[in-house]
């Protein structure tokens, strides 16, 4: 017939090919696949930290969805009538009773609940480590500053998700956690009392808080987290991943296995490994045994209770305040024992958020940076990071001050005073040590480039002298040690109107602080000079 269709399907096409044609002709996905399918993805173990965060979040979504089918976010009072005998007949909220039912009356329920909790702990930990990796390798530099902000927001949201989830079972520990939050909020000037009153729907504890936190926990916060993760990953694709200095890798390329198939296989497989490890932990290790704590009651408490690890730094900050930091002034109560921790943590957070912009301003460097730094090659940044980690670690350790005191037979006061010193003096000590170590490592790198590495071969010279032969590096190994840039301190120069501005002075001062002690990479001339000196 003359009306035969103009596009004839060749019968030989494989099923996969015809399926992809079918889909593409309805979605135009081929362009997308062509664009992304063979993108090179740089490879390094430290890049897995972000993946752990992403994959544990997927596990949280999957396990959390299962839990929502059983959990009831109500604070109505019931008498427990489930399988766990020691609590039979005890008055508790529906939230607590349904959590016990998940644990004791639904097969596999405890497994899913524990996996959800362990995955949440891993999620926050992985984000934290991922951020440290980004910080210490300078992967926040242009063009990735926004992704630093998004990632940081995700870290805060993850802690929010963690805390709201921790509060849902309405057991003794979660109620105590909320009591502390209530006390914290009440200590905030002007708005504190009313904020607490509105949040709890009246007096603490009220009957509203679990339902409200549930809405935040399963609707609002996850929606924001999912949206931000999506933007975060889109930006990773737009920027292409950073890579470490290595022969052939430049600022202008991204080198690694293609997304399809190798990267997809490794990342996809890694998802199942993370999922599997969480399943293993959940099947063997108890987490948050609420049946041991019982329902919330404002009166009893047990010693040695701890918040989930990621809240520790805030709890520790509260513990480190010396006695007496609260005043009545103008007929109002100023609770500096609460404000100071809040402000200190707030400043810390602001510094973390602002750091990429500060460093960029000091350097005045407007180029894109796609080669991640070795931490030693940015000594001041690494030292600042070490100081920040020490500060955080001090606060975090303080959340276990009572446990430290009892386990190591120390006095409560001694532990607190030691940690107060660690939080205030520790960062300076850590800064100094880290900076010196970085510079020493850079000197060692120079030494290795200039004089080779120790080969372990001892040779006796005709005159009887013993020497160890130093083996020069090949050009590939050498490249890793010399392929960085050092920055020099800024020279203050008057601007067009012949003035030196305050901003300029500040920048010069910061620049001196950053780059006064610096080790420049070995140049070709230096290497030649060192060779001729040897001969």
């Amino acid at each position: 017939m003359s009306t035969a269709p103009s596009t004839q399907v060749t019968p030989k096409r494989s099923f996969t090919a015809s399926a992809s044609v079918y889909v593409n002709e309805r979605t135009s996905l081929a362009g997308f696949v062509k664009e992304l399918g063979r993108k090179a993805f740089p490879d390094h173990w430290s890049f897995l930290l972000g993946e752990i965060a992403l994959f544990s979040f997927v596990v949280i979504l999957i396990s959390g969805t299962f839990l929502t089918f059983f959990f009831q976010a109500s604070m109505a009072e019931v008498h427990y009538d489930g399988s766990y005998v020691p609590l039979k007949g005890v008055e508790m909220s529906v939230a607590m009773a349904s959590t016990l039912d998940i644990s004791f009356d639904i097969r596999g329920g405890l497994f899913v609940r524990q996996m959800h909790h362990w995955a949440a702990l891993l999620f926050v930990a992985a984000i934290g480590l991922h951020m440290l990796r980004i910080f210490f390798t300078g992967a926040f530099r242009k063009p990735r500053e926004f992704n630093w902000l998004i990632g940081f927001t995700l870290f805060i949201l993850a802690m929010g998700e963690g805390f709201t989830g921790y509060s849902l079972p309405d057991d003794l520990l979660s109620g105590n956690g909320l009591r502390i939050i209530d006390g914290l909020i009440k200590g905030i000037p002007v708005i504190g009392t009313w904020t607490s009153f509105l949040l709890f729907g009246g007096e603490f504890p009220g009957t509203a808080i679990v339902g409200r936190l549930y809405t935040l926990h399963i609707l609002l916060l996850p929606a924001i987290v999912v949206a931000l993760i999506a933007i975060h990953l889109v930006l990773v694709v737009v920027h292409k991943h950073t890579q470490y200095a290595a022969p052939g890798k430049t600022q202008q390329n991204a080198v690694g296995p293609p997304i399809l198939p190798i990267y997809a296989a490794k990342a996809g497989g890694f998802f199942f490994i993370i999922f599997g490890v969480l399943a293993l932990i959940a099947s063997l290790f108890t987490i948050n045994p609420i049946w041991n704590y019982g329902p919330y009651d404002p009166s009893p408490v047990s010693a040695g209770t701890q918040p989930d690890w990621y809240i520790g730094f805030a709890d520790g900050a509260l513990r480190l305040i010396p006695p007496g930091w609260e005043f009545v002034w103008l007929d109002r109560t100023w609770s500096f024992n609460i404000l100071v921790p809040l402000i200190a943590i707030g400043i810390f957070i602001l510094l973390v958020v602002a750091y990429p912009f500060i460093e960029a301003w000091v350097k005045g460097d407007h180029r894109e940076h796609h080669i991640a730094d070795r931490p030693r090659n940015a000594p001041t940044r690494t030292a600042i990071g070490a100081a920040g980690v020490t500060f955080y670690a001090g606060l975090w350790a303080a959340a276990s001050s009572d446990i430290l005191a009892t386990h190591f037979s120390l006095t409560m006061e001694g532990v607190i005073h030691a940690l107060q010193a660690m939080v205030i003096i520790g960062p300076f000590v850590a800064y100094f040590i880290a900076k010196r170590v970085c510079i020493a490592l850079q000197k060692k790198d120079r030494e290795v480039v200039l004089h080779g590495y120790e080969s372990g071969r001892i040779v006796k010279l005709p005159g009887g002298e013993f020497i160890e032969v130093h083996q020069p590096l090949d050009e590939y190994d050498r490249w890793k040690l010399v392929s960085y840039e050092s920055y020099e301190p800024l020279m203050i120069r008057p601007n067009a109107r012949g003035k030196i501005t305050v901003g300029q002075r500040l920048r010069a001062g910061m620049s001196r602080w950053f780059f006064e002690d610096r080790i420049a990479p070995v140049t070709k001339g230096e290497l030649e000079a060192s060779h001729s000196a040897h001969h």
Partner: protein, 358 residues
């Protein structure tokens, strides 16, 4: 070196495009040495053992499919465990077995899959490495100019800059419109209550008997021996239909008896205790945890949350920790039948500090 942005190319010789593509942006204070080493280019490709030895490749294949079969086994085991280890028998041990065996089955299923896929990717799939070319994130100057033109055109066409009265009134309206939503938040708590009023009173009143927590049985002065401590609630609290926890969160009290000679009492508070028996709010003045750890021989109370310590012998003054104010004292007496009673409510708000407190 020919490179394709989207599909990548096999690694080729040394990268020579460094200079050609060098960014024009300012390097700031970075030192760019003219004598720096040049990138030596990609090192020669090193084949894996599975590329060179067919036996090793075969073995890798066996490992991968064995892992996948183990994974299937794990899934089947998890399903079987669901049925083999029921938990309906009011038996905590059964819960543990159910949890463990379902979990271990799932673990095997997931780890078999995960390690299998990764091993396939690392040992068997072609060891391809590609290099994508990077382009400036800002895009080409033409695109940037076109984008800027979109904004300037739309500004010109709408008159957003020129018609400033319209624009400013729009901004005003946009600021005002969310305000009604803020007001709605007042409904988060009962309309007929005020927080400061609620925080200033507890259930204690003149004549309320001190009762044991949680049973609600009243306690006689004679039952309180020297050195003992009791957790106390007001009589009637245990029977409350509504608001039990809210009242308890304010009214919980610790009752202790010391040798009267060990108590340093202020003259105006001498009548608040009875024969060495004193009652103090149990709610920490820091952030509200129950101060429940009593060290009998030192008469110190310790808050388990943030380790504030209070000295019972000295009106619960703070001796260590972040709390500032002493625990409020409940004035007590004894009624005709020998039961301990409150003389009045607390004379100050209990619990954590708040702004309007003075």
């Amino acid at each position: 070196m020919a490179q394709d942005d989207h599909s990548g190319t096999e690694l080729a010789a040394a990268d020579s495009s460094h200079e050609a593509l060098a960014p024009t942006a300012s390097p700031g204070t970075a030192l760019i040495s003219s004598d720096a080493f040049e990138n030596p280019g990609f090192p020669p490709h090193r084949p894996r053992v599975t590329d060179e030895d067919p036996k090793k490749e075969k073995r890798a294949q066996r490992t991968v499919y064995t892992l996948f079969y183990l994974s299937i086994l794990g899934s089947v085991w998890a399903v079987a465990a669901y049925m083999l280890f029921p938990i309906e028998s009011n038996d905590v041990g059964a819960v543990r077995l159910n949890n463990m065996f379902i979990g271990l089955g799932a673990t095997l299923a997931l780890l078999g899959l995960g390690f299998g896929i990764v091993h396939w990717g690392k040992a068997i799939m072609d060891d391809v490495e590609l290099a994508d070319e990077r382009h400036p994130i800002g895009g080409s100057p033409e695109t940037q100019a076109a984008a800027a033109k979109v904004f300037s055109d739309s500004d010109k066409e709408s008159g957003f800059t020129r018609r400033s009265v319209i624009r400013n009134s729009l901004i005003g309206a946009l600021i005002a419109f969310p305000l009604p939503a803020l007001v709605l938040f007042r409904g988060f708590a009962p309309q007929d209550q005020l927080p400061v009023e609620l925080l200033s009173h507890t259930m204690w009143a003149k004549g309320t008997r001190l009762a044991l927590d949680p049973s609600g049985v009243p306690i006689k002065a004679a039952d309180v021996t020297i050195g003992s401590a009791f957790h106390i609630i007001p009589e009637g609290l245990a029977e409350l239909e509504h608001g039990k926890l809210e009242e308890k969160a304010k009214a919980a009290v610790l009752l202790m008896r010391l040798e009267p000679s060990e108590l340093n009492q202020a003259p105006d508070r001498e009548s608040w205790s009875y024969d060495g028996i004193v009652a103090y709010s149990k709610i920490c003045t820091h952030v509200g945890c129950p101060v429940a750890l009593y060290e009998q021989h030192t008469h110190h109370l310790l808050c388990p949350c943030h380790q504030s310590q209070f000295d019972v012998a000295n009106h619960c003054e703070v001796i260590f920790g972040p709390a500032k104010r002493p625990l409020p004292q409940l004035p007590i007496a004894v009624d005709d039948e020998g039961y301990l009673i409150a003389q009045s409510d607390f004379t100050e708000p209990v619990g954590p500090s708040f702004w309007e407190r003075s």
